[in-house]
């Protein structure tokens, strides 16, 4: 289970890294599509987790992911609209979407503490992978100064989410042997 999960995240990382390996990184329209998709994938997972989470801390985290990533996406959409950039789907955004769909399909089948652990584990790996992409590919490749500034501005939120998810993961492991996950 863990191996398959890790493998999926590695596929995502590889798709992003593929840009880095090319002579040029993604264009601004491609970056726009990657940003919007990356946020939307986490919003969708958060909406599912809000209703299925066992521990109230996990439900609260899921609610936060929905609110925060919707806030980021609203700013991203406003910016690309103002810059008249049309988001252009690409291998990375499609890989993100596919990974998100697979994650939802997996989570749908789980419940209770197993759901919480799987959701939070994926959130840790996902935020780490997205942060890597932001740092290694998206910020360095962004041409438009405002698009680059938006990426720089949202980065700390992804860092805080990653740390929050790690704290949750640690607390879920601690109560792993107990009957109630709180």
């Amino acid at each position: 289970m863990n191996f398959k999960h890790t493998a999926r995240i590695l596929v995502l990382s590889a798709a992003v890294a593929a840009f880095a390996a090319q002579a040029q990184g993604p264009t601004d329209p491609q970056i726009a599509a990657i940003v919007v998709t990356a946020n939307q994938v986490d919003i969708d997972a958060g909406k599912l987790a809000k209703s299925k989470a066992h521990a109230k801390e996990v439900a609260a985290f899921a609610e936060r992911m929905v609110v925060d990533h919707e806030g980021v996406n609203q700013s991203a959409r406003e910016l690309v609209s103002r810059l008249q950039v049309t988001p252009e789907p690409n291998a990375t955004s499609e890989s993100l979407q596919q990974g998100g769909d697979e994650n939802l399909a997996k989570l749908e089948k789980l419940s209770g503490q197993a759901f919480d652990r799987a959701y939070v584990e994926h959130e840790v790996a996902y935020h780490q992978a997205v942060l890597d992409a932001v740092d290694k590919t998206l910020i360095p490749s962004a041409q438009n100064a405002e698009l680059k500034a938006l990426l720089v501005k949202v980065r700390p939120a992804f860092v805080a989410h990653l740390e929050h998810a790690r704290q949750l993961q640690a607390s879920l492991e601690q109560v792993g042997g107990l009957e109630h996950g709180e």
Binding site: V67, D68, G71, V72, P156
Partner: protein, 116 residues
């Protein structure tokens, strides 16, 4: 009519002078010497993270991030509730002591207000 107009202008001038004097006095807001302080919430941090104020001072948190935040004292002395992006919330420092606070939404965000 011209006299009234002069009076209005004069009153306006006096008011402008008074406001300018207040502004020149820095952050002083009220006659009792209370100060106004601003804590920016940006890049998922409280800036400054620690602040020392006197009782009666006003502390305003301004959310410069793209996501909502709170300023929630661990000892329940104050709780802003959700501060929307671009929004702000003001607390009038009442009880002396050191108040550790967090963002209730983002547990990595911590701050401290010392009230003397």
């Amino acid at each position: 009519m011209p006299v009234n107009a002069y009076a209005r202008t004069h009153r306006g001038f006096v008011l402008a002078c008074a406001l300018a004097a207040l502004a020149a006095a820095g952050m002083s807001a009220a006659g009792n010497g209370a100060q106004e302080y601003t804590i920016a919430i940006e890049a998922m941090r409280f800036v400054p993270a620690t602040l020392s104020v006197k009782r009666g001072d006003r502390v305003t948190w301004v959310n410069k991030d793209l996501v909502p935040h709170t300023a929630t004292a661990s000892a329940k002395a104050f709780d802003s509730g959700s501060i929307a992006p671009g929004g702000s919330w003001t607390y009038v420092a009442t009880e002396a002591g050191t108040q550790a606070y967090v963002c209730a939404f983002h547990p990595t965000m911590k701050g401290e207000v010392s009230i003397r």
